[in-house]
């Protein structure tokens, strides 16, 4: 069942918090994973895999580099959720 973008954002914020300790409230749509949230490529891998499991989507490795902001990731997940 598709979730609203708001729900996806909240879920993603939890995943980021789990991996990096960042407060979920800091994980906002306009934030860049690398420049704003200081998330390195290894952490990004873990976040991607956890997001795949949580939202039931597949995020190909080639796609990850296009997801520069939290909003990009939320959009991709929303579009690809069954």
């Amino acid at each position: 069942m598709a979730q609203s973008e708001q729900e996806i954002l909240a879920g993603l914020a939890e995943i980021v918090n789990e991996e990096t300790g960042l407060e979920p409230s800091e994980v906002q749509s306009d934030k860049s994973f690398t420049d704003d949230l200081d998330i390195d490529s290894l952490s990004m891998m873990t976040i991607v895999v956890n997001a795949e499991e949580k939202f039931g989507v597949r995020i190909p490795d080639d796609e990850v580099k296009n997801l520069s902001t939290v909003g990009d990731a939320v959009g991709f997940i929303a579009k690809n959720q069954a």
């Binding site: 789990e18 991996e19 300790g21 290894l42």
Partner: protein, 413 residues
């Protein structure tokens, strides 16, 4: 040029007796056993013949953040806890990062990560394998993480010599300072191998005590009823500092780290050489390199793991090294309380030797109800022994599978 001297200015630990070195030492003086039952699920599922171990008194998640726990193997978690505590105990010295070094030994390394991630690969596939698996399972994971935490850039080293690793790493730190590569080195050992696999391996070797019905009495070095060691986990770290550097900043000095002696048996991959030729060479070398004579050594913290063969081999080695002079050296067997911390054992016992010299007190072993007549040593039991006034020195022995022998000497300042 006069030789650079090395002193101990900070201590930190997390052990089966306490989350700090102060609580651990209190436990030692109170004669407490750190033994606790293993999870019942392990014992049943794997039919383990041993049902207990000396696990940590304080779980790392009470001290570290959730993210630190996720991104570090338990062995590195313990090392970081102990290293931070040691630096704080040393007064959080300000030092040029290029003059601050790290030496953290381990016997087994990131075995929890290795085996957990293997399980994940088999059950869930490659995409679920944690991207930090390799830097978490490598043996130098603790040295690397401690270096990161403390901003130490003079060098970060890992000695791996089984149950002598922790002692050897302190020797590495000592050499770094003596050789001029660093002014402070955070040195010690860590181990987090209470996982069903290494546990099963040691059990299959018949190396572990199976006294399941009386676990507090299971670790009993030098007692006739000893039947193997009790596996333990934790970390012990000391801040080694160049003497003039310590003096200049008005640091509290616990003791002088006077020397390290090392040798290899080349006899058998696990069994100690029964006459103790290699072990005695390490002890004599340590005393000689400290510029001391036998008469200066008033105390020995023995390796004394509570195995039938090992305890006798060490006693023979002590006699072989010191002859009649050993009569004047009282012997502590602290593994009777802590269990055997493997790669952290020599480090933690190094801390105990420092505290023994500092407080002039030799801790009593517990569980020696029926002393083995084949052990011809002055083993401290019952009450703690007061060590003499004046200049004193203490020896600390550690031996490891592979035939590694390491002896440290600390002396009063």
């Amino acid at each position: 040029m006069t030789e650079r001297r090395v002193v101990v200015t900070g201590l930190g630990a997390t052990t089966p007796l306490g989350g700090t070195i102060a609580e651990t030492w209190e436990g030692i003086l109170a004669g407490r056993s750190g033994a606790k039952p293993l999870p019942e699920e392990w014992v049943e599922r794997y039919e383990l013949p041993v049902h207990f171990a000396c696990t940590l008194a304080q779980k790392p998640d009470e001290v570290l953040t959730k993210v630190e726990i996720r991104r570090m193997d338990p062995s590195a978690q313990y090392a970081v806890i102990a290293a931070r505590a040691a630096m704080e105990d040393a007064g959080s010295p300000e030092i040029d990062p290029l003059r601050l070094g790290v030496a953290i030994g381990t016997g087994i390394g990131g075995v929890w990560t290795l085996l957990d991630q293997w399980d994940i690969l088999r059950e869930k596939g490659v995409r679920r394998v944690f991207p930090l698996s390799v830097p978490m399972l490598m043996p130098n994971t603790s040295a690397g993480n401690v270096s990161l935490q403390l901003g130490a850039r003079a060098g970060a080293h890992t000695t791996v010599s089984a149950c002598a690793s922790g002692a050897e790493s302190m020797g590495t730190g000592f050499d770094m300072i003596r050789g001029g590569r660093a002014d402070i080195v955070v040195a010690g050992g860590t181990e987090a191998a209470i996982h069903p696999l290494p546990f099963a391996g040691f059990a299959q070797m018949q190396a572990l005590s199976t006294r399941n019905d009386d676990i507090d009495a299971a670790s009993r070095p030098y007692d006739t009823g000893r039947d193997g060691f009790v596996m333990a986990e934790g970390a012990g770290v000391m801040v080694l500092e160049e003497y003039e550097h310590a003096k200049a900043r008005g640091a509290r000095i616990y003791a002088e780290f006077a020397s390290i002696g090392m040798s290899a048996d080349s006899h058998h991959i696990t069994a100690p050489e029964p006459e103790g030729a290699g072990a005695s060479r390490a002890m004599l070398e340590a005393v000689e390199r400290a510029g001391l004579s036998n008469a200066d050594i008033v105390h020995i913290n023995a390796h004394a793991t509570s195995t039938p063969v090992g305890d006798i081999a060490e006693a023979n080695a002590i006699r072989r090294a010191f002859g009649a002079d050993a009569d004047a050296m009282c012997v502590s067997a602290t593994k009777s309380m802590t269990g055997h911390l493997l790669g952290a054992a020599g480090a933690l016992e190094g801390l105990f030797s420092v505290l023994s010299v500092h407080h002039r007190l030799a801790p009593a072993a517990i569980n020696i109800d029926d002393p083995d007549p084949k052990i011809d040593l002055d083993v401290v039991t019952g009450d703690h022994r007061t060590l003499p006034d004046g200049d004193i020195a203490a020896l600390n022995n550690s031996f490891g599978f592979g035939g590694h022998n390491v002896a440290l000497v600390v002396k009063s300042v």
